[in-house]
Structures are given as C-alpha cells and as structure tokens.
Amino acid sequence: MPPETSRLAVDLSGSSIRVLEGTLGGPMRCGSAAAPDGATSGGRIVDPVAVGQAIKQLLARTEITTTRALVAAGDAVATFRVLYLRGVPTDSDVGAAVARELALDPERLETAWQQVFATEDGCAVYAVAWDRAMVNTITDTVKHAGLDATVLELKSASLARTVADASCVILDLASDPAEIVLVDRHMPRLWHGFQLDASMADDPAPALATPLRSVIRFYKRGRDSGFGPHSPVLVSGEQALSAHVLAELEELVNQPVQALAAPPRVPPNVRHSTYLTCLGLIMRRGS
C-alpha cells in the first residue's frame, strides 16, 4: 500500500479559521486564527479578501506550503437530506426526488447527490442544495489565500467521519456558533447551530439540553431511525465539561453523554476538538 500523502485541510465554517496539514498516523501542523472583525457572520463569509489574507498569514505562521486544499464550509450555506429510494433509480428519478424534497430556487441554489449505499429494496441518497453565491464567496476566499480548493464539503460531512459510532449526536462547543450534528447510519442527518449564551457558563447543562432535546425529538419523529436510546451524545469543546455536567446533561436529554474521543492516529500535540473538522476532511477517501 503506498504511503498516504500529506493533505491540507482548511476549516472556514465559523468565526475562526483553522488549518491542518499532514496525514493520519504521520506528523501534522495546525494553526487557528480569528477571522477579521466583520468578515464572517453566522458561519458565512462576507469579506473574502479579508478572510483570504488572514488564511495566508495563518499558513505562513504555521509554515504550511501546500497549496491544494480540502475546504469545509459551514452548514449555514446549504441544506442536506438523506433520501431512501425504491428500486434502481435513474439519475432523473433521483433528481426528481431531490427536487421534491428540497425547496429549490434554481436561480440561487445548486444541488448534487451521491448514492451512499444499497438497501433491501432500493438505495440511500445523500443530497445537498447549496447557495451558489455563498459557495462562490468561499472559493474566492480560498483563491485570495493563494490556494487551490480541490474539495469543498459541508462541515457536518467532515464531522460525521470523525466518529466511530454509527448513530450519535456531535455537540461541537469549539465552534462559534455552537453546533449540533445528528449522525445516523454513518451519515449526517441533521444540523443545528445555536449561540452560546455567556450566562450559561455557571450552569451549562440546562442551556445545552434544550437544543439537544429539540434535535433528537425532531429526528425520532421520522421513520427509519437507527438512532436509539443508547446512541450517545458526544461533546467536543475547547474546555472539557466536568463529569458532573456530563451526568446532568445525560439525565436531561435521556441519552448517554460523553466527551468525544480523538479519532485514531491523531498525534497528541493536535487538539482534536479544535481541529475536528480539519481531521474529518483529511479522513476523506476521495481527494
């Protein structure tokens, strides 16, 4: 088996810019910087020149010289669904199903899908509809940084790759806004972003339980859920929540709650909670 080649991952999903270069099981370089004031808003880039310059400076500071980049965009720029289709659907069958499922404005939105696996009587399809202008802003930003984006995917897709549990909830407190991604059968199924209130610092469990319960309750209403009572809530944050807070949260959401473990073969010098999206990007099978 040929040795894995080093990859550069750029996380542009929030108000912090994060970059990581390396391979799983090999050396990694990483760095993080706040986006310039006013250059991002709610997971969207509003000033591509300023963010591009900030990425350039961050790459120089981190001594990263790779120019081909895998990029993660915030889920705020898109919407996604997993559809189960019967039989062996043609491209036009899938297209029609995606158009039915996702409210489309072809002037503004673009769609793409991927058949992820076969079921007993059909197949599962992961479909994304994204705002063309917002995604163009991201690719412009990457160009301003002197990089060539080879891959662009949603952060939720990157995060789903970092967990071994087939069905779980990832609670990402290291991002701003904080995010919840529900993963079922190894596929991202729901995304929800929410602002962390400074007042929750004293008693975080009830403040975190409210959005978590809403997401889980909403998802369980659907059919075909592999998300059961033992599916865990995995918490990732710059500062670990205490065992007491995790236990309280577990009681409030009625699901097991634990800290999200580092993916395998991540060196100890890399804070996996900070660079989780970047790690998910370099775990992609395709380039």
Binding site: A73, A78, E110, A112, W113, Q114, V116, F117, Y126, V128, W130, V135, T139, A149, T150, V151, L152, E153, L154, A157, A160, R161, T162, V163, A164, A166, V183, H186, M187, P188, P264, R265, M283, R284, R285, G286
Partner: protein, 57 residues
C-alpha cells in the same frame, strides 16, 4: 494485524464523500459530453447518407 484492525474501523465511518466543487465540474463536463455526442451523431448520420448516396449512384 493492528493496521488491518484500524483500517476496518475507519472504513465503517461516514459514507458521505460528496465534493460540491467536483459535482459542479462533473455536471459541466456531462453537459459538454452531451453536446459532443449529439454533434457526433449528426456527423455519423451525414456520413451514412453520403455513403448510401455514393453506393446507390
């Protein structure tokens, strides 16, 4: 042995690998291929007509 176990674990992870940039490019290529095949079909039909006409005369 250990490496094989690690690979198995990683292979179970998310199956979603959709590249939004790649999809846009692929769609552009598909469009171009569609035009090329239409043009090719017209040329083949024209060639057949010429050959048939030559054979009949």
């Amino acid at each position: 042995m250990k490496r094989r176990q690690i690979e198995r674990v990683e292979r179970r992870r998310s199956l979603v690998d959709l590249n939004l940039l790649g999809e846009a490019k692929a769609r552009a290529r598909t469009g171009a291929r569609g035009c090329a095949s239409l043009l090719g079909r017209v040329l083949i039909d024209a060639a057949l007509v010429v050959l048939l006409a030559a054979g009949l005369s």
